[in-house]
Amino acid sequence: MPVKRWLVVATLIGWCGGAALPAQAAQEETLSVATEDPELQEQISQVNQALEEIHQQLVARKKALQMVLSDAQKARLYDELDGLRRERDMLERLLHDLVDEAQATEWTAIDEALKRARAAERPQERAVQREENLRERAQ
């Protein structure tokens, strides 16, 4: 097979793998946010870890389900799975609230510079408006 064809095949394999992996990883996806607020950052990190832990327990129980034969054991495992899923959903909601809160404090250098410039521009805009008002009145 010519080299070019191999490259195409390798690219396709890579693309397919690249496309498939994020979906796989999404189950364990954690949210992070750039914030200078240490309290929120720490809390986000803890909630992320708790989510990871719950995910591991979910995986462990699903594996156990495949091995267990007794109905009573299965029922107990299903109950635990339900409980863990509820915990996961609640933690995810909490995590999003925390991330929203952290994002609210995301003040950038551009925001600061524009705020400073805005204070200088406001009198200039008033001067432009004043001139337009004067010309308007005169016409």
Binding site: V3, W6, A25, E87, L91, E106, A127
Partner: protein, 368 residues
């Protein structure tokens, strides 16, 4: 190296190249920050001997407590800027006569601000000013602008969205027919593009506004110049595109504006115009208390049909160039002083409309 050997090296390299990015944590632009310090966070976690449920419950309680405390801390914020300005203008009438005059301007700018959610803020703004000249009394006017609702949405570090409506009334004590009311809705979107090598933090923004200006007593004219029963009503659509960068604390901006102004006054479509403006500005803090601002702008205003003296078949156009130099010095958290100098030159195909205007002013502002 033969083809087969080359393949042996190339293929794994390609596979590694294409597979690696897929394993990274997903995120967009700004959100891709270094992983939090898991080791130190681990130390802070509740008792390792506690069961998973207890650990999770403790984390939840703490997170809810933090969120609750922060939500309680959100209060209505109010700030006022009260300014007194004294200035001298070389040509307040914008006429070729160049009769200068001193003017005073009192202005009040108030902002009420409240966070509605972590990313949405409501603002109510009042801005009012009174300008009066010592001798050129025809130029006196009072303007009040109320923005009852302006919403700012800040979903992360990259986007800034704001929208609202301005209500304005402008009153001329000596020229009452020129009094008008104005309603102006607006929307703006800014994107922070992030840090670029050698350029700094880059942003660009687009803003659209539209106003309807309703003259309280002035009548619109028909094509023959006679007053109609309708009051004069003007509308304007303005689009603004701005881009800039913060380079070593210096903010550099270029702004382009287009607007279309239309009026129901039909006499030569006197007020109808299309306008394009480009402005460059630089703003930089020189010390902790002192900052400087410089700008240059060029504006072309093409009137749709306004006739030019002695020329038929050509509508009037005005080219305005403006240079401005301004500073701001903060004495303390309350008091500041802002000197300003501006030079304006209007060039037109209508010779009687050309003028030069220089303004020098100083303003003292109290913030409380």
């Amino acid at each position: 190296m033969n083809g087969r050997n080359r393949l042996r090296i190339l293929l794994p390299a390609l596979l590694v190249f294409f597979l690696l990015p897929a394993g990274r944590q997903s995120g967009i632009g700004w959100a891709q920050e270094p992983e939090p310090d898991r080791e130190s966070a681990q130390k802070e976690r509740p008792e390792p001997s506690a069961s998973t449920q207890e650990v999770v419950a403790a984390i939840k309680r703490r997170a809810q407590q933090i969120l609750e405390e922060r939500r309680k801390a959100r209060r209505l914020r109010v700030s006022w800027d009260l300014s007194q300005l004294v200035g001298y203008e070389s040509n307040p009438a914008n006429s070729p006569d160049h009769v200068g005059d001193t003017y005073l301007e009192q202005s009040l700018y108030g902002v009420f601000s409240k966070k509605l959610t972590p990313t949405v803020t409501w603002q109510g703004i009042y801005s009012g000013s009174y300008d009066n000249y010592l001798e050129y009394g025809d130029g006196d006017y009072m303007s009040h602008t109320l923005t009852p609702a302006k919403f700012l949405w800040q979903p992360g570090r990259m986007w800034r969205v704001d929208a609202g409506v301005d209500l304005n009334i402008t009153y001329y004590p000596r020229s009452k027919p020129s009094n008008y009311r104005e309603v102006k809705p607006f929307i703006g979107v800014r994107q922070n593009l992030g840090e670029l090598p050698r350029i700094g933090s880059v942003f660009h923004s687009v803003r659209y506004e539209w106003f309807v200006r309703d003259y309280i007593s002035k009548k619109a004219r028909n094509g023959a110049g006679a007053e109609t029963l309708s009051k004069r009503v003007d509308t304007r659509s303005r689009l603004r595109y701005e881009m800039g960068t913060t380079w070593k604390e210096t903010l550099l901006k270029i702004r382009q504006e287009w607007y279309f102004h239309e009026s129901n006054d039909e006499r030569n479509d006197f007020y109808d115009a299309q306008d394009y403006k480009v402005a460059f500005s630089v703003n930089r803090p020189l010390t902790k208390k002192l900052s400087a601002n410089a700008s240059y702008s060029f504006e072309r205003k093409n009137y749709t049909h306004r006739p030019v003296t002695g020329i038929t078949g050509e509508a009037r156009y005005d080219d305005t160039q403006t240079w401005t130099l301004a500073g701001a010095y903060e004495f303390n958290r309350t008091w500041s002083f802002s000197p300003s100098f501006s030079y304006k030159f209007l060039d037109s195909n209508e010779p009687t409309g050309e003028y030069v205007d220089t303004t020098i002013s100083g303003a003292v502002t109290a913030r409380f």
